[in-house]
């Protein structure tokens, strides 16, 4: 029985950290620009495909450094795309009602789907975990693949890095100011527009990074964006508008919900997940860890 509990907790953490990796960029953009970027899942997916292309030159045995390098390449590629998206979409729609940006990002998601199919085709693809991470650890009755541990560790590392930047650096303090009062920030002399751009770039870069780090976690297909997007949304909303800490906590919370749902309610996938989101939003609409944005 104890093995079961550890297994449930472990599976919950894997789901949580994978989702957090995807949601981190989404949260950042949501918190600073107040835009819920529907296409975030699409760029996560493209990041995964970019990593796949890089890794396919290594054949069957992929060294860990190559795996990480591919994730970095994906990250940079997506960051670059972020510049284009910011220029062409977010800036143009700044002065219009927020709903139009939402719709534009949804349209972008469709474009991402189309681009993936055009470039990489429709086949299902798979990447094996790096050769250093093909083992399994045993803890009590629970089986813990080392690649899964890698996913969990990656999520925690990304979180800590973001947390440090946001809370302990001057750049982070600027971000916090802008999140709360961009008008005042502008008056005080902060180049708000430039910060917005950098936030978008970082958000997209995080999407690409997540895509690359998670490429060996599941199969790769044009459906990938759709699978992760609702999960990421749930985490961002439940965690509180733009709060990275909130997103982290929400990921773990929802990860537990998902793991319990898969174990005890396998015939009703997603019901518990959506019901939880709806309930949290109704009872505490600001999110679990609100009050301070981007903290």
């Amino acid at each position: 029985m104890a093995g079961d509990l550890i297994t449930i907790l472990f599976n919950a953490m894997i789901w949580a950290m994978a989702t957090f990796l995807v949601a981190s960029g989404l949260t950042l953009v949501f918190g600073i620009l107040h835009v819920l970027n529907f296409s975030h899942g699409g760029f996560f997916m493209i990041g995964g495909y970019v990593a796949y292309t890089v890794l396919s030159t290594f054949g069957a045995e992929i060294p860990l450094w190559a795996y990480l390098a591919a994730a970095l390449v994906a990250s940079v590629a997506m960051g670059g795309t972020g510049i284009a998206v910011d220029t062409l979409v977010f800036r143009r729609l700044k002065s219009v009602d927020g709903v139009y940006v939402l719709i534009a990002t949804y349209a972008l998601l469709l474009v991402c789907d189309g681009v993936v199919k055009l470039i990489w085709g429709l086949n299902y693809l798979s990447v094996s975990p790096p050769r250093e991470l093909l083992d399994v650890l045993f803890l009590g009755g629970a089986i813990m693949p080392t690649f899964s541990i890698f996913v969990v560790v990656s999520g925690v590392v990304v979180f800590l890095a973001l947390d440090v930047v946001i809370n302990r650096t001057s750049a982070g303090r600027i971000l916090q100011v802008i999140a709360v009062d961009p008008w005042m920030a502008g008056i005080v002399g902060i180049n708000v527009s430039s910060v917005y751009r950098w936030t978008v770039i970082t958000g997209f870069a995080l999407a690409g990074l997540a895509g690359g780090l998670l490429v060996a976690n599941q199969s790769l297909s044009p459906d990938l964006a759709g699978i992760f997007i609702l999960q990421a949304f749930g985490v961002v909303i439940v965690g509180g508008m733009g709060s990275v800490r909130g997103a982290f906590v929400a990921s773990i919370f929802l990860g537990l919900v998902e793991a319990l749902s898969a174990t005890y309610l396998p015939n009703y996938p997603g019901v518990l997940f959506f019901a939880t989101i709806a309930l949290v939003l109704i009872v505490r609409p600001e999110g679990l860890l609100s009050r301070q944005a981007t903290s």
Partner: protein
């Protein structure tokens, strides 16, 4: 951009034009096009019902598919299992189900959430409804309900057999015209205008004694019931009801129609639905690039013409009039 009431002198001729166009279709085009025409008519109602809540009450819902699906399933189930019930009763039951769902959603969410949060709640509730539909045996689970036949309406001394020929198509045109007129009344009358007031300036509206939450709830319930009614009319037309109707991507359709046509105009979603129907038809054999096309189109519209086609026309008209002579222009 304020949304004035639509004067009967402007609305009625336009409606007549649309209906006339719809009536010609079976005489000049083949059965497939007739089928699509019926779908477009239903989409017009779908879109305008969405816009009623969106433009007038500022409610952005990403879950309207659930109302449509609830209405379609209600009608589909009753037509296949309880077909002794008069069709009109079935339609009203479907509208009631949609309204009920909207009421529950609104009561739970409107009071506390607004803007993006509300939109995401509707997304979550919609996804919940989608999963539940797929799990219920009596609704056919994944396969849905098939064999939803077009009914015979019994008027007492004569029967109207809607299964014959194009009869159901004419029924769709008639009932959609009726629903559009109903929504026009709501849009332009005191209710619609008070909604407009509270959207533009909620604080002042509440000082004036308007109960914001209640009005918005009513708007949502109306939108939900009429959308469900559209779904109920759709079920015997397609003769099959499947869970895809409740998927969140279907919820983006009325949004697309509204934006394409112009959200500030009552008939904006109608223009959008027709344009989208034409576009889908024209590209139906361009297989495999539909995602790119729809996404690209939507993006192009939002980025360059956020006021939609009608917004663009209105701007051009205003510019033309301003350059020729100073005159007050009427908005449709």
């Amino acid at each position: 951009m304020s949304i004035a009431r639509v004067r009967p002198a402007v609305f009625l001729p336009l409606l007549a034009l649309l209906v006339a166009g719809a009536l010609i279709v079976p005489h000049v085009a083949n059965r497939g096009v007739v089928f699509l025409g019926g779908v477009v008519a239903i989409n017009v109602v779908f879109g305008i019902a969405f816009n009623l809540a969106f433009a007038k009450a500022g409610i952005l819902s990403f879950g309207n598919a659930m109302f449509f699906a609830v209405g379609a399933y209600c009608a589909g189930y009753l037509v296949t299992q309880q077909n002794h019930l008069p069709f009109v009763v079935i339609l009203l039951a479907a509208a009631g189900c949609g309204g009920l769902l909207a009421l529950v959603t609104g009561l739970l969410a409107l009071r506390r959430a607004s803007g993006v949060y509300f939109a995401v709640i509707t997304l979550a509730v919609g996804a919940l409804v989608h999963v539940l539909i797929m799990k219920l045996d009596f609704l056919g689970r994944n396969d849905g309900l098939i064999g939803v036949n077009r009914p015979i309406i019994d008027f007492g001394f004569f029967d109207l057999d809607l299964a014959r020929g194009d009869a159901y198509y004419y029924f769709i045109v008639a009932s959609c015209a009726l629903l559009v007129t109903l929504m026009w009344v709501l849009w332009s009358n005191r209710f619609g205008r008070s909604l407009q007031a509270l959207k533009s300036d909620p604080m002042r509206a509440s000082f004036l004694g308007i109960d914001i939450d209640r009005k918005r709830l009513i708007a949502l319930v109306l939108s939900g019931s009429i959308t469900a009614l559209a779904g109920a009319i759709y079920a015997p037309w397609a003769q099959i009801v499947t869970p895809e109707l409740a998927h969140w991507s279907f919820s983006t359709m009325p949004l697309l129609f509204t934006l394409l046509g112009g959200s500030a105009f009552f008939l904006g979603p109608a223009v959008g639905a027709i344009l989208f129907g034409l576009l889908e038809y024209a590209t139906r054999s361009l297989v495999g690039i539909s995602d790119l096309l729809v996404g690209g189109l939507l993006l192009a519209v939002v980025l360059s013409v956020p006021g939609g086609v009608l917004g663009l026309l209105a701007t051009l008209l205003a510019r033309f009039r301003a350059s020729s002579s100073p005159q007050r222009e009427e908005r449709a």
